[in-house]
């Protein structure tokens, strides 16, 4: 793997963000709005609970982590969609760029943009609503890493689906995180769900994070084994998503889909 082509993908995204407030603003704006809305909801719930329960860490913490996961997924797929929107596939894939280099470039792009969003979320939730991540301690790091890994896997999967189904299918992939959210227990324990939904939830890495987070906040000891299972599933999901993308890429090259993405009007 060569670093220059990976840097090229990253640089392209930087150029786009630098030159376009329409692209850079959502990195801050939507996460800020989410935190503000949920921050006031938790305040209201705290006032109703009259000190019997603190909703800030469990609810606002969950919102923050779910937003982070969503940003990672969207960071990968948006960087990919930039090539769809600018009809750049022919220019891009007629170069020595390998699929692994391309995907790594998308992932690093997503990490960079998501970190900005995470920083905004952390500052707002801590400074304005008093959310303290110190209560999660060092576990915050593995929690975020598992969500990060699964966000990457889902972003690669979404990109592969758009490549396979065509540009219009982007509307199918945006709601993917929302589709998964009922199964992973962002705001409630998995035990709340019917058994079949619990089973589906156990196949999704975020469920281990949110269950773990609630365990820690309740003052109970966290099972490292459960979090390791979540991490292992997330790592497996990345491999499966990358494999799926590669297969779709080969299919697109075999059927002419890859060339037609850029050359629909070519004779």
């Amino acid at each position: 793997m060569r670093l220059k082509p990976v840097a090229g993908i990253l640089l392209r995204q930087f150029y786009l963000l630098r030159g376009s407030p329409v692209r850079s603003l959502p990195m801050f704006a939507w996460v800020a709005i989410d935190i503000v809305v949920w921050g006031f909801i938790t305040r209201y719930l705290n006032s109703m609970a009259a000190g019997r329960f603190n909703y800030v860490p469990s609810l606002l913490g969950a919102v923050l982590m779910w937003d982070f996961f969503t940003r990672i997924m969207q960071g990968v797929s948006t960087a990919f969609l930039e090539d769809v929107w600018s009809r750049n596939f022919l220019n891009l894939f007629a170069t020595p760029l390998t699929i692994a280099e391309y995907i790594l470039g998308l992932v690093i792009t997503s990490v960079a943009t998501s970190m900005v969003g995470l920083a905004v979320m952390l500052v707002l939730s801590t400074a304005v609503f008093g959310l303290s991540f110190l209560s999660l301690g060092a576990l915050l790091v593995p929690f975020l890493l598992v969500l990060f890994a699964f966000g990457i896997a889902l972003g690669i999967l979404a990109s592969a689906l758009v490549l396979r189904l065509g540009p219009a299918s982007e509307w199918l992939v945006w709601p993917l995180p929302a589709l998964l959210s009922p199964f992973v227990g962002v705001f409630y324990p998995l035990a709340t769900l019917p058994r079949w939904m619990q089973f589906a939830g156990h196949l999704l890495p975020p469920s281990y994070v949110f269950e773990g987070m609630r365990t820690v906040l309740a003052g109970r000891p966290l099972s490292g084994g459960n979090l390791a299972v979540g991490a292992a599933i997330a790592a497996l999901d990345i491999l499966l998503a990358a494999h799926f993308f590669t297969r779709v890429f080969r299919y697109a090259a075999a059927t002419g889909l890859l060339a037609r993405y850029s050359a629909e009007s070519a004779g």
């Binding site: 022919l90 220019n91 050359a263 070519a266």
Partner: protein
Amino acid sequence: MSDHHVDGDPHSAGNSSPHAAGGTVLSVTGLCKSYSHVVAVEQVSFDVHRREVVGLLGPNGAGKTTTINMILGVLSPTAGSVRIGGVDLARERARALASVNFSAVYASLPGNLTVMENLRFFGLVYGIPQLGRRVAELLRQFDLERLRNTKCGLLSSGEQTRVALAKALLNRPRLLLLDEPTASLDPAAAQTMRARIRSLAVETGCGILWTSHNMYEVEEVCDRVLFLSHGRLLLEGDPRRLPREHGAASLEELFIRLASEPLAEPLASAG
């Protein structure tokens, strides 16, 4: 006449070239592409040599763009092989594509990046050493310095063509594929571009595969032409001699006659 005739023999076109085999930058052998029951390209074979400009001609739907896409690695052949500078594209894709570049009217560069940004982006993707210096050279060479900070989407057709050509030369390609590079240019700009591309082949030693519907242009620029029709390579030869050899008044007349043939009928009867 028979020297120039190509009728499905995978090696006949390549062997008829006067150039030494050591200077071969592109070797296409028995290339086929079919989509379920539709055959787009059938047993196409030819070579392109260093410093040679080869015209790939044919009516719309003849298989020119399909052939070019297979050489660029964005379309997998059903059968056959593409070797670029001796490197098999199917086996060593990245290494083979490192020495190729292209420009096509239907593959414009991202319009939301400036000229400079596009060149830097693609320069990194191609892994160009001393990229800053190379980009500066190309901006100067194609008279793009004043447009360096202009978004490509805002450029005129002629300017976009110059940027696309600058991008196509970033990696100093051994093989340059140009799909109708002058299609959107006015006659004066097209004339300048033809002269520039012609001199590129001489100065850099790269081989150029050029598609065009402008037969005057082909006669002026190309050392050799390949006629494709219905996905098959029908004829190959010197564009200045072929019309006479086939009893046509001009290359355009020969093109029209070939394009109207239902399939690859032996052209000897026409001559």
